[in-house]
């Protein structure tokens, strides 16, 4: 039997797009039916990781998702590994099997799965070879060839900025404010000073907004945190760190370490995840997400786009 992650990827690839609610229900259903014991929020975490791995894109505001077009791309500094991401229908799996029979070196690799999580789809990797015509292989797999998503997207990562003006919360609305000392939102009696807030608006949506110098501005959860850090009000931040890999001869390749309290926005996360094609390692004890095999140039581009100084650790 297929693993639960592959079953889910097959499903979303066949239906191609839909409402986020239905997707979350489908993930919960698979977990329940296949007796996977989950912790609260498992479906949401699955969606987040599926976005990072480049399988789907999610419009959170309108509660809509779509499966991504299939892409074959290179994992940087990986000793020649290509990864196939995006949509994976039954027909695509047939093409993959045919390619595998035709002596293309295909591997199906499981992402490590934490206790309480719904497994992710297996990552399909292809060993590169000097004789391999990438465009042709991609075509045979029904995918398009992108030379190296991680390093290419690094060049066009957006620089953080506010998302336009926003209305202040209505009087009496309960508000939460982000507490950087505790790395989470804390309920506050009302709007108290500049900062990152979230609340439930009259239309039942939950916006993230920043109050600075008397002006309310729209933002998102992850961007809001980095915008606040960049404002300098919280001292010198060191939430994005990079550690050189110990191996000799692999200069400028290392681990990108990000605190849980300051998660990377979606595109930065995808750039870092598509250095291995696997989920980051989450460390509960350290409270960090560790993205491996990240070139220093990408780490710098990510921190630059988030207005952060990259901290190099030895």
């Amino acid at each position: 039997m297929k693993n639960a992650g592959d079953l889910l990827l097959g499903w979303i690839s066949e239906i191609e797009h839909g409402s986020l609610r239905d997707l979350l229900d489908g993930i919960d259903w698979v977990a329940r039916s296949y007796r996977i014991s989950t912790r609260d929020g498992a479906a949401g975490r699955w969606v987040r990781d599926a976005v990072s791995l480049g399988f789907i894109d999610v419009d959170w505001v309108n509660g809509h998702w779509s499966v991504a077009p299939p892409v074959l791309t290179r994992l940087p500094a990986s000793d020649g590994l290509l990864v196939l991401t995006g949509s994976r229908t039954a027909a695509a799996t047939d093409r993959l099997n045919a390619a595998s029979d035709a002596e293309i070196d295909v591997h199906s690799v499981a992402s490590s799965s934490q206790e309480g999580d719904v497994p992710m789809p297996n990552t399909i990797m292809i060993s590169d070879d000097v004789s391999l015509d990438h465009t042709d292989v991609a075509r045979k797999l029904g995918a398009s060839w992108v030379p190296c998503f991680a390093l290419q997207v690094a060049e066009i990562l957006p620089k953080l900025s506010y998302r336009g003006p926003a209305a202040k919360p209505l009087p009496g609305t309960p508000v939460d404010k982000y507490d950087f000392a505790r790395s989470r939102f804390i309920e506050v009696p009302g709007v108290v000073g500049d900062g990152l807030y979230r609340f439930i608006r009259a239309d039942h949506k939950r916006p993230y907004q920043i109050l600075r110098d008397g002006t309310w501005r729209a933002t998102t959860y992850e961007e809001g945190i980095y915008l606040e850090l960049a404002s300098g009000s919280y001292g010198k931040a060191s939430c994005i760190r990079w550690k050189q890999e110990a191996e000799s001869g692999r200069n400028d390749i290392g681990d990108l370490v990000v605190d849980w309290g300051t998660p990377l926005p979606a595109l930065q996360r995808r750039a870092a995840v598509l250095c291995t094609g696997l989920k980051p390692r989450y460390s509960r004890i350290a409270g960090t997400a560790v993205y491996r095999n990240v070139p220093l140039s990408l780490a710098k581009a990510i921190s630059r786009s988030l207005l952060q100084d990259l901290v190099l650790i030895s």
Partner: protein, 705 residues
């Protein structure tokens, strides 16, 4: 003072206006009249003579079987197409008699004729008079049939008839007034809520027996809200056919609106939202068809506006004031919709309130009943606390009562809030609910009226219902019929399930059966359910990437700069965007050079005589986890110009061409690493492009010479 026919005509007009007015057009009309309704009509229409008195003055006691002859004759001569037959007063009295029948025990004919005779004889019912009433009653029955015919002839312009005499022959006649006396106005309003809750469709309305089964389950927890007579009729073997038909007729002509029993206004159910941080209750109301917006007069004098958007709940209802006493007493408030039609917002108090997380409101919302496998909060009145605690302990071992001070303060005095309530174990829940109490009835998972398929991984919704991806077969939910652990005979594709499944309100996963991709049929309780498993649908992506991160060109000091947005949106047109790992193709990228691992030494030599040593790095540590994925190469950065990768192995020296340029002899001659360059070229035993290599070898030999 008016007497005789003058009084009769006044009653006729009043009853016609009350029950058969033009506003009744198309709606089912139940001519329900009891003593209380009579008093209200008397007052509203200023009627000086009571109805029984009016009728009494026109009776013909001198005959043996023509007591109602005068009415019969009057109706025959005064009928018109545009107004109800002039028999309403006498028919109304026959209904009043039916409402005064004993409600308990076997209903016998005498139960009916005694109260009728009493009404006709000013409170007494001597046997002789009763005999005359009995033998004359066919005249009244005839008047009933004429009213029924008139309602049918006028095509519902004055209401849709619910008059019925479907019954055993000996009760046929009294069945006519009885059909109008079973359902009070308030019962009818409650029935509209029932229709609303079961999402009544024309198909369902056509199945009266099924409807009644559902109704008995639904009414079970609302016994105190229906009239005693209606509840008794639901339980009585004798009355059931009549009730069934009546409910079916009401269902057939139901207009989709739930009505408030007290006011008759369109009802919108208020539900409770609960947030734990801060602990707070607020009102909410689910969106109903046909009401887009409106306003509510709040008890504190404010006017609260509400409207609809994509959410399944109205926006603005949470502005209604809340106090914990409303939880205990219930809450009703009036409003109007956008067309100024009256609305009633209603919360019926409950001693056990079940909450479930609502995905749209993002908080806890009160529910009709519990569901399996979902987390609940249960709020409990002190008197039910012991029962509830016992059940939860047994069925939901993880539950814990919430005793956090600040949460308790938001609750009514003495009430308890239980959190972490989840029913995952059918056997444990079955044991816990085996004792029959108010609490066990309330905590039972939502009754399932008929078997159905839920969950699964549905595909191809545009092709119709019932298609699922292989491996994603839906769950089977069997009808509980208000019981728990009922054994149901189920067959899948003709194969009977042994031992039989128990209907517990828990879904039975069919996905684990590894069914083949074809059409499957389940029969359960005489219902047939079909679903089709498909292995594949789309061959070519059609609607992938409808969401993505837009990529836009932005003017900057260094010219135009391309940048992606950090928030994915639903893309409306053919927009340049990052979808998954696509959309970065235009960004320039220098491909690395793959160099084979395991060589004793490796170098790059260029077509112009440069030499660059290549050091083989260790294998990337993270790749150790990729079991079976061997790395034969490493990546090297080499200059972006033509040359060769030369590698020395134990028994061979290889050269792999990078680019196709011929050697540039003059540049090579000047190169600082000339000797090394020549050594390397002359060492090679296996070039991958022998014809191009020949040119290099020739140059090297000439230079060495």
């Amino acid at each position: 003072m008016v007497h005789g026919w003058a009084a009769y005509r006044q009653w006729q007009n009043a009853l016609a206006a009350e029950f058969f007015g033009p506003d009744q057009a198309g709606l089912p009309v139940v001519f329900y009249v009891d003593a209380e309704v009579l008093r209200q009509i008397e007052a509203r229409y200023n009627l000086a003579v009571s109805l029984p008195e009016t009728i009494r003055s026109l009776l013909r006691w001198g005959t043996s079987s023509r007591l109602f002859g005068a009415f019969h004759a009057h109706a025959a001569t005064h009928s018109s197409h545009d107004s109800p037959p002039p028999s309403l007063p006498v028919l109304a009295l026959s209904v009043v008699a039916a409402t005064e029948m004993a409600t308990e025990g076997l209903i016998r004919n005498t139960n009916y004729y005694t109260p009728l005779t009493r009404l006709l004889c000013d409170g007494k019912a001597p046997a002789a008079k009763r005999a005359i009433v009995l033998s004359s009653f066919p005249q009244v029955a005839d008047l009933w049939r004429r009213l029924d015919q008139w309602l049918r002839r006028t095509q519902g312009a004055f209401g849709v008839s619910t008059i019925s005499a479907k019954d055993s022959p000996h009760r046929e006649l009294i069945g006519l007034p009885l059909s109008q006396a079973l359902v009070r106005r308030s019962d009818r309003m409650l029935l509209t809520q029932f229709f609303h809750d079961i999402e009544l469709s024309p198909a369902l309305a056509a199945k009266p027996d099924y409807l009644l089964r559902q109704l008995r389950i639904w009414a079970d927890s609302r016994v105190r809200k229906f009239s005693r007579r209606f509840v008794a009729a639901l339980e009585s073997e004798v009355d059931r056919p009549l009730v069934t038909e009546l409910v079916a007729r009401l269902a057939e002509s139901w207009d989709g609106k739930a009505l408030d029993p007290a006011t008759g206004h369109r009802m919108l159910k208020l539900v409770l939202q609960f947030t734990s941080r801060p602990p707070e209750f607020r009102w909410a109301a689910e969106v109903v068809k046909g009401v887009e917006s409106g306003e509510i007069e709040s008890s504190d004098g404010r006017t609260i506006c509400f409207h609809q958007d994509e959410s399944p709940f109205y926006i603005g209802i949470d502005q209604l004031p809340f106090s914990s006493s409303l939880l205990v007493d219930g809450f009703r408030v009036r409003g109007r919709d956008e067309r100024h039609v009256n609305l009633a917002f209603n919360y019926s108090s409950e001693r056990i309130v079940v909450f479930r997380k609502d995905p749209y409101l993002g908080c806890w919302v009160s529910q009709e009943s519990t569901t399996t496998h979902d987390e609940h909060l249960i709020l409990v009145h002190p008197e039910d606390d012991a029962d509830v605690r016992k059940i939860l302990k047994e069925a939901s071992p993880h539950m814990r009562p919430v005793v956090i001070e600040h949460v308790v303060r938001a609750l009514p005095q003495g009430w308890t809030l239980y959190s972490n309530v989840r029913f995952d174990d059918p056997a444990a829940l079955s044991r816990a609910l085996s004792v029959n109490t108010q609490a066990s009835a309330r905590l039972r998972p939502s009754p399932v009226g008929r078997p159905k398929l839920i969950g699964g991984l549905p595909v191809a919704k545009h092709l119709g219902r019932g298609f699922y991806l292989q491996g994603g077969a839906p769950d089977l939910l069997l009808a509980t019929h208000g019981e728990f652990s009922r054994e149901v005979s189920v067959a899948l594709d003709g194969h009977k399930q042994e031992p039989p499944f128990a209907a517990t309100g828990f879904p039975i996963p069919l996905a684990l059966l590894e069914l083949s991709s074809e059409k499957h049929e389940i029969s359960a309780d005489g219902h047939l359910l079909n679903f089709t498993l498909v292995e594949r649908l789309t061959d070519v992506p059609v609607k992938t990437g409808t969401v993505g991160f837009p990529v836009v060109a932005q003017a900057s000091s260094q010219g135009s700069q391309v940048s992606a947005d950090n928030v994915a949106v639903t893309l409306t047109t053919v927009q340049s965007a990052i979808r998954g790992a696509s959309g970065v193709g235009a960004v320039p990228y220098l491909e690395p050079c793959l160099v084979q691992r395991g060589a004793l030494a490796s170098a790059y030599i260029s077509f112009q005589g440069e030499v660059m040593e290549i050091v083989e790095p260790k294998r990337p540590a993270w790749r150790d986890e990729l079991v079976g994925v061997v790395s034969y190469y490493f990546e090297a950065e080499i200059p972006e110009e033509s040359g060769w990768i030369v590698q020395r192995f134990a028994r061979r020296v290889t050269a792999r061409a990078v680019g196709r340029a011929l050697p540039d002899v003059s540049a090579i001659r000047e190169a600082p690493e000339l000797d090394q360059w020549i050594d390397l070229v002359l060492m090679v035993t296996r070039p991958d492009n022998p014809s191009l290599w020949k040119a290099y070898r020739t140059v090297a030999e000439e230079l060495r010479a």
